[in-house]
């Protein structure tokens, strides 16, 4: 059947259908499903068995273990900026919070329905023009600074990159090419395997989590001292059986060539249906649905030099960049949602035979290179193959490995790969060619005539200089924040480190403390017996994080991958309880209105069931209020003790003896029940004691 129809439905949920005559070329070949075992460091391929070591990046003969090739890897990361509007239009993004409450379940539960987050410009309505978002400028400058870019260019320009595709509304992407926003950055990171080990078994309680955070919160690579300290601590904490990783614990450096601002495209999802008609003809129809909600969202593209040598380095650096961007707040880092995507440029170079062919020789080589020329690729390096759109660390590792083996096998057969573009099929664990060299697209770059150059002057920055701008907007580093929390709030070190590793948590903590203090001050409560900061920190680190994690696990369901990534990116950012309500809650504990256990119950309700009510309202509604008035308590106890139903127990008590404590306990339970659990435990016991004492003394006086 010849049929191709691309039409836009006119309702708000416009979906574009594209009936393709046949499957796209890339996916028509049948795929054998080959799952990579997560531990196996080798995989079979073609005639000669080759194995790839993810830690050293060496491809060697599986039998003789003779090293043959080394992988050379460069990366391009597309990070979606977490700003409320799109790059060039006022349409809201998924980071847009609709109401004044600064958090409304941004836990992606509110994914907008298709084609609703669009401005006419995003659909390339004829006559619409772009206007650059200032939030994007701010966010991208912070990203560039956090990746230690030497040059954040005062003058950068936008260009158009042309190609036709259904999810590219304008027929071009507005990007930066010859005049990028920033260039020459550096990232220090640890290869993936080390991260892995530190994470193992650290999921459940906050104290272990703290270690993980500590370990991975090392954002400032320059601080080697700090790094070593934490490394040694961690090693002692984790099992000593991981000795062999010790040699690679030294941070690796990746140089960043450029960082540029650009637009995202729409999203195409295809559905294939096969129908059997009467005369045994099968018709395959592929329907493409295009959702333009993502079209025009702000991205930064981070392009690296080919400094990486192993699959685990590639995964490690992506994780590090993800953390850094999250820390400055420019990207939410959710790889599973496509907020951070990665393209790999993989090539192989033969391991020279006269060299010592151990991994260390390559490490040395690596160090030497930094002083050498720009690209400093090893001799004999093959053509680079670009693998596009990798969405998880696992995919990065698997794709690198697949490419390493594939390119090596071809090289052994003297059938070198040309420059090509491939995509990764996560089900088959394979990369698939989408464009060979001959089909390369001429993107016809052209200066964007609808936008003036981006000049980072006072008007644009709102600060006198770039330095002043960074001073003002750059979030403090985790180390600085920890020191400050220790100093100002007298928090315990573990708690301080945990809070400091999550910038939104610092804000939430500080706001909640000030809210609680203000509340207490208003009540003229001079009771200094409760350390508000400590209680806030305690609630934040234990209860709130636990709630966030729980909802993340619930959201992930059975999806292992998603669960892992979600747990990896736990942040107070996702909390539905903001500082205001947390502060009020803590104030109620401090002034004795609530017990800690009541507060925990209320927090749980605030988090899940009631996203708006104040803690006081929730307490009142549930009748949770500590009774600490002595008169009331005495009355309560008197009532219970003299209750006719309890005459038997009272009589027993009056008789005295060694079992009186049991009777006392009985009365405590009864009084607690009578007060619906609201009686202040200590004071109630006091009251009960006085009541019982009175009973006994009355008795003695009456008998005597």
């Amino acid at each position: 059947e010849i049929g191709i129809k691309i039409m836009m439905l006119s309702t708000a949920k416009s979906i574009i259908h594209c009936y393709w005559r046949s499957l796209p070329r890339s996916s028509s070949s049948s795929l054998s499903v080959r799952l990579l075992s997560s531990s196996a460091a080798s995989s079979q391929h073609h005639e000669q068995a080759l194995s790839y070591n993810r830690d050293t990046g060496i491809i060697s003969d599986a039998q003789s273990m003779q090293p043959l090739y080394q992988t050379i890897i460069g990366i391009e990361i597309h990070a979606q900026l977490a700003i409320p509007t799109k790059l060039f239009s006022s349409a809201p993004t998924k980071h847009h919070h609709h109401d004044g409450n600064n958090k409304t379940s941004s836990v992606s539960s509110t994914a907008s329905s298709s084609n609703t987050n669009v401005h006419p410009f995003d659909l390339a309505y004829p006559g619409t023009l772009p206007t650059l978002s200032h939030a994007a400028i701010k966010s991208s400058i912070l990203s560039a600074a956090s990746l230690n870019c030497q040059h954040i260019h005062r003058y950068s320009k936008f260009e158009r990159k042309h190609y036709f595709y259904a999810d590219l509304p304008h027929g071009y992407q507005i990007t930066q090419q010859r005049w990028p926003l920033a260039s020459e950055g550096v990232v220090l990171f640890l290869p993936y395997s080390n991260l892995q080990n530190q994470q193992q078994g650290s999921d459940n309680d906050a104290s272990k989590k703290k270690k993980k955070k500590r370990r991975r919160g090392r954002d400032d690579g320059d601080n080697a001292q700090e790094d070593e300290n934490s490394t040694s601590k961690d090693d002692s904490a984790s099992s000593s059986s991981k000795q062999q990783q010790q040699h690679s614990i030294e941070p690796v450096q990746l140089r960043i060539e450029r960082i540029q601002l650009e637009q995202d495209t729409g999203k195409t999802t295809t559905h294939t249906t096969t129908t059997n008609s009467n005369n045994n003809k099968t018709t395959t129809t592929t329907t493409a649905h295009i959702n333009y909600n993502r079209a025009g969202c702000a991205l930064i593209e981070i392009v690296s030099y080919p400094d990486l040598r192993t699959a685990h380095e590639a995964a490690g650096v992506v994780e590090m960049i993800r953390k850094v961007l999250k820390h400055v707040g420019s990207c939410d880092g959710k790889m599973e949602e496509g907020s951070l995507r990665c393209d790999l440029n993989v090539s192989i170079a033969p391991v020279s035979s006269n060299d010592d062919t151990t991994s260390s020789s390559f490490d040395n080589n690596n160090d030497d290179e930094q002083s050498n020329d720009k690209y400093n690729l090893p001799p004999g390096n093959g053509h680079r193959v670009e693998v596009k759109n990798l969405n998880s660390l696992r995919q990065i590792i698997a794709a690198t490995e697949y490419e390493a083996i594939r390119q090596s096998s071809l090289a052994i057969q003297h059938n070198h790969t040309g420059r090509e573009t491939r995509t990764f099929d996560p089900l088959g664990g394979k990369t698939i060619c989408i464009r060979a060299k001959g089909d390369a697209i001429d993107y016809r770059f052209m200066p964007e005539p609808d936008l003036p150059p981006l000049i980072l002057d006072e008007t644009t920055l709102g600060s006198k200089s770039l330095e002043e701008f960074l001073e003002r907007y750059m979030p403090e580093s985790a180390e600085d924040a920890t020191a400050r929390l220790l100093e100002e709030y007298g928090l315990g070190e573990s708690v301080a480190v945990l809070i400091a590793s999550d910038p939104p948590a610092i804000v939430l903590f500080e706001d909640a403390v000030s809210v609680a203090k203000a509340e207490l001050e208003q009540e003229d409560n001079d009771d200094d017996s409760v350390d508000v900061s400590a209680v806030v920190a305690n609630f934040l680190c234990n209860d709130l994080y636990a709630l966030i994690k729980k909802s993340a696990i619930e959201e992930a369901g059975d999806d292992e991958d998603k669960r892992a990534t979600l747990l990896n990116s736990i942040s107070v950012d996702q909390s539905t309880v903001a500082s205001q309500r947390l502060g009020l809650l803590i104030a109620m504990i401090a002034n004795g209105t609530l017990t800690t256990s009541m507060a925990k119950k209320i927090l749980s309700i605030m988090y899940k069931d009631d996203l708006t009510s104040s803690p006081r309202d929730i307490a009142t509604r549930n009748g949770w209020e500590v009774i600490s008035d002595m008169n009331v308590l005495v009355q309560l106890c008197t009532d219970v003790v003299h209750d006719p139903k309890n005459t038997k127990q009272l009589e027993q008590y009056k008789q005295g003896g060694k079992n009186t404590w049991k009777i006392e306990k009985f009365f405590v339970g009864k009084v607690m029940a009578q007060s619906n659990g609201n009686a202040h435990p200590e004071k109630m016991k006091e009251a009960l004691a006085s009541v019982l004492e009175k009973v006994v003394s009355d008795q003695t006086s009456s008998t005597s």
């Binding site: 691309i6 006419p120 006559g127 619409t128 158009r160 071009y172």
Partner: protein
């Protein structure tokens, strides 16, 4: 056809070496070579002819003016905005009456004169409704501006809210909803995305300029004017709208499985698009008929004349011709000439009627081109059906049609009016401007439309720092302009203040220096145009008291001016190919049914439309959409643009053209006084404005009987040469105005001998430009 154009381009555009200047030369030769007829156009005369003639004729022109016999009512004697506003304000006339008259004229122009000036004429009720609102404001003394209640029109590439939601310049290019029973989909997308109840929302897709004109100034919209498709073309021949379409602009052929007839129909529609005709020949005839009217001759109070004219206006006879037989005869002739003989489904009964007019066929066709691309805008002004018509000017699109229809075309500095809501052709050159009947009207239009702009500017600045307000500043390039302009305005104001004391009221241009650039004086300039140029220069000197300054080759080099035409076409085509990428049939573009095209290669004459065999389904769809949706001229320019942007030609062509552009605008800038202040204040040889002709040719004669191209010897690229006088000014973004110049000393001039003269100045100097233009306009 695509293939043929590709080959044509490849043969004409050859890669050259890497030296910039050489590239520029090469570039010139390439484009010029392809524009066969413009090749000899661009040759500079050794001496500045205009100045020479001006000196010879200094006295003559003034005496001749008085001696020439007073012509019958001239077409330039149009109802002006100020007169109309005066009649409205003094309540001698209601806005409804005025707009009804305009609507009558428009209807008469479309249906009786077959001008094809409108792609959409608003229903009379809609017009009267707007007029009613205006009238209410006027009676209550709450007039919004001089334009309140004045009938206006807007070019088809401008979005005008609910009346013209989807700006388009071609019937075939925009995809419409297939199912009209659905809610209006365009509004859904066009409206604010957050708005759930779009039906109720006032906010529909509206350009900034239309908002200003209609909402803020209160003008009454009569209709949407026709144009060359996407503004490409300078003859008004590429409208892309055929006779079947006019009045039913958004007509889309329904899908009918595999019927190649449907596909043919599609492509033919495009082929036989009707040109936009110049109303001048008919206006001339009509005014002769009018002059026979008794009541006119006896009435020399123009106010009274217009009141009568408007009050007696009918759809059948809006011009108030008393001799109805003569009128019918004229309309008969119109019908005869505008009838396309080669039309595919030409089985109308009119054919037989036309055959009874064999006597016309002996004469040459009276039909004239209106110039382009804002053809409809100029035509509605020339015909009188609107008093101000918004258009766009990329390389001369407002000024050329204005010159050819004897109207005033005003292009302000690039970026003055926001381009938001205006379909982009070449973004870095597109300028929103307007056509009016006189310079005085243009002055009113400029004051009204730019006034509110200036006011809102100060507010913008405050907001800009904290966050971008997307609704306030929707055109980023306009912002750049305003930043620059604030300084320039300041300097020019200081400049004026210094000189004010010496101003002589009898010599309004006493302190103004007018440059006559040698570089614009070309050998091919027809004598009539050269004479008009010098006569106008004379007038400015003798009557206005301005100082004429010849601008030598050393300041404005003819070398760069010559190259500018080539550079323009490289840059404009490159930007056009990029801007038009969005018409891919997914969201915008012709909604073709591939089934209709599947068998087309079997049909003779349509082989070229069949997609290539190695295309994917999506590519096939996009290809068919674009091949069948875009007109020939558009395809030609998109292909040229695609070619110059390709990686092997970008440096040799695009970048070279950008260098030429910079050089041209720098060299022109150097001649202006406002920049001289920065250079140290030596301004002996500096000028305030320059005076050059608008076009080097007269409106060409069209003959629909000759077939689809209308002209016997029409090279598709020949029209490129028409813009040689306007392009250098566009490249620099300078404000420019084209003023009609009536050469009264030439008694035996033909109807088509209309001359437009251009006054242009430094960016931001619109006020002086208008002042000088007014002196020419009122003296001629």
């Amino acid at each position: 056809m695509m293939m043929r154009h590709c080959q044509l381009l490849q043969s004409s555009i050859r890669s050259v070496n890497h030296h910039h200047h050489r590239h520029c030369r090469q570039l010139l030769s390439i484009t010029i070579r392809s524009c066969a007829s413009s090749n000899n156009l661009i040759q500079k005369h050794p001496h500045c002819k205009a100045i020479h003639i001006a000196k010879q004729q200094q006295c003559r022109s003034i005496t001749n003016q008085q001696a020439s016999p007073s012509p019958p009512i001239q077409h330039h004697q149009r109802l002006t905005i100020s007169r109309a506003a005066h009649l409205l304000n003094s309540l001698q006339l209601s806005s409804q009456q005025l707009c009804q008259h305009a609507h009558n004229l428009a209807t008469f122009g479309e249906h009786s004169l077959h001008l094809n000036a409108y792609v959409k004429l608003l229903p009379l009720d809609d017009v009267l409704q707007q007029a009613q609102l205006s009238q209410d404001r006027i009676t209550n003394g709450q007039r919004k501006s001089w334009l309140d209640g004045i009938p206006v029109t807007v070019k088809a590439n401008v979005a005008v809210g609910r009346w013209w939601m989807m700006p388009s310049s071609s019937s075939a290019i925009l995809m419409e909803e297939r199912d009209n029973n659905d809610t209006n989909g365009t509004a859904t997308i066009g409206g604010d995305c957050n708005n759930n109840d779009i039906e109720e929302a006032e906010e529909v897709y509206e350009s900034d300029i239309a908002k200003k004109l209609l909402k803020e100034c209160g003008a009454v919209l009569i209709g949407i004017t026709n144009m060359d498709e996407f503004g490409m073309g300078s003859l008004g021949l590429n409208s892309g709208i055929s006779s079947q379409d006019s009045g039913n602009h958004n007509h889309v052929i329904g899908s009918s499985n595999g019927d190649s007839k449907q596909a043919q129909l599609y492509l033919d529609k495009k082929r036989y698009a009707n040109p936009i005709y110049n109303p001048l020949p008919w206006m001339h005839r009509l005014s002769m008929l009018q002059s026979q009217n008794q009541h006119y001759n006896n009435n020399d109070d123009p106010d009274q004349y217009w009141i009568e004219q408007i009050q007696n206006s009918t759809v059948q006879n809006p011009h108030g011709i008393s001799d109805e037989d003569a009128l019918e005869e004229l309309l008969d002739e119109v019908r005869y000439w505008t009838q396309q003989q080669t039309h595919h489904d030409d089985d109308n009964s009119t054919n037989t009627k036309a055959s009874s007019h064999d006597d016309y066929s002996a004469t040459t066709s009276p039909l004239l081109s209106s110039g382009g691309s804002s053809s409809g805008a100029a035509v509605t002004i020339a015909h009188g059906s609107s008093l101000l018509s918004i258009g766009t000017d990329t390389g001369g699109s407002l000024r050329l049609p204005a010159a050819w229809t004897s109207t005033v075309g005003f292009k302000p500095t690039y970026g003055t009016f926001s381009r938001y809501g205006v379909v982009s052709y070449a973004s870095s050159l597109d300028t929103v401007g307007f056509v009016t009947g006189s310079v005085e009207c243009a002055r009113i239009g400029w004051d009204c439309l730019s006034g509110s702009d200036r006011r809102s500017k100060s507010n913008d600045d405050d907001d800009e720092r904290s966050c971008v307000d997307f609704n306030k500043s929707r055109d980023a390039t306009a912002r750049v302009y305003h930043d620059d302009r604030s300084c320039e305005l300041l300097t020019s104001q200081q400049h004026q203040q210094q000189e004010q004391p010496t101003t002589d009221t009898t010599k309004p241009l006493a302190n103004i220096r007018i440059g006559i650039p040698n570089a614009f004086s070309l050998h091919e300039t027809p004598p009539l145009i050269a004479n008009a140029w010098s006569a106008a220069a004379n007038t400015l000197q003798n009557i206005g008291g301005a100082t004429l300054v010849p601008i030598p080759e050393s300041v404005v080099s003819s070398e760069w001016i010559k190259l500018s035409c080539a550079a323009y076409y490289v840059l404009a085509c490159a930007e056009a190919s990029s801007n038009l990428s969005r018409y891919d049939g997914v969201r915008f573009g012709l909604d073709v049914d591939l089934n209709d095209f599947a068998n087309l290669d079997n049909v003779q004459g349509y082989e070229e439309y069949h997609p290539l065999s190695n295309m994917t389904a999506l590519e096939e769809k996009i290809s068919t959409t674009r091949v069948s949706g875009f007109g020939d001229e558009v395809q030609r320019r998109v292909l040229a643009g695609t070619s110059v942007l390709s990686s092997d030609r970008f440096h040799t062509h695009y970048e070279a053209a950008a260098v030429v552009r910079a050089k041209v605008s720098q060299s022109i800038e150097r001649a202006f006084r406002s920049t001289a202040i920065n250079n140290g204040g030596v301004d002996d040889d500096k000028v305030d404005v320059m005076l050059v002709p608008t076009a080097l040719s007269f409106p060409c004669t069209l003959n629909p009987h000759l077939g689809d191209r209308m002209m016997e010897d029409m090279d598709p690229t020949a029209a490129f040469g028409n813009d040689v006088m306007t392009i250098p000014i566009s490249l620099g973004g300078f404000p420019s105005i084209s003023v009609p110049h009536d050469n009264n000393d030439n008694l035996d001039r033909r109807e088509k001998d209309v001359v437009g003269l251009q006054v242009f100045g430094m960016r931001g100097s619109e006020d002086i430009v208008l002042q000088v233009a007014n002196a020419i306009n009122s003296s001629s």
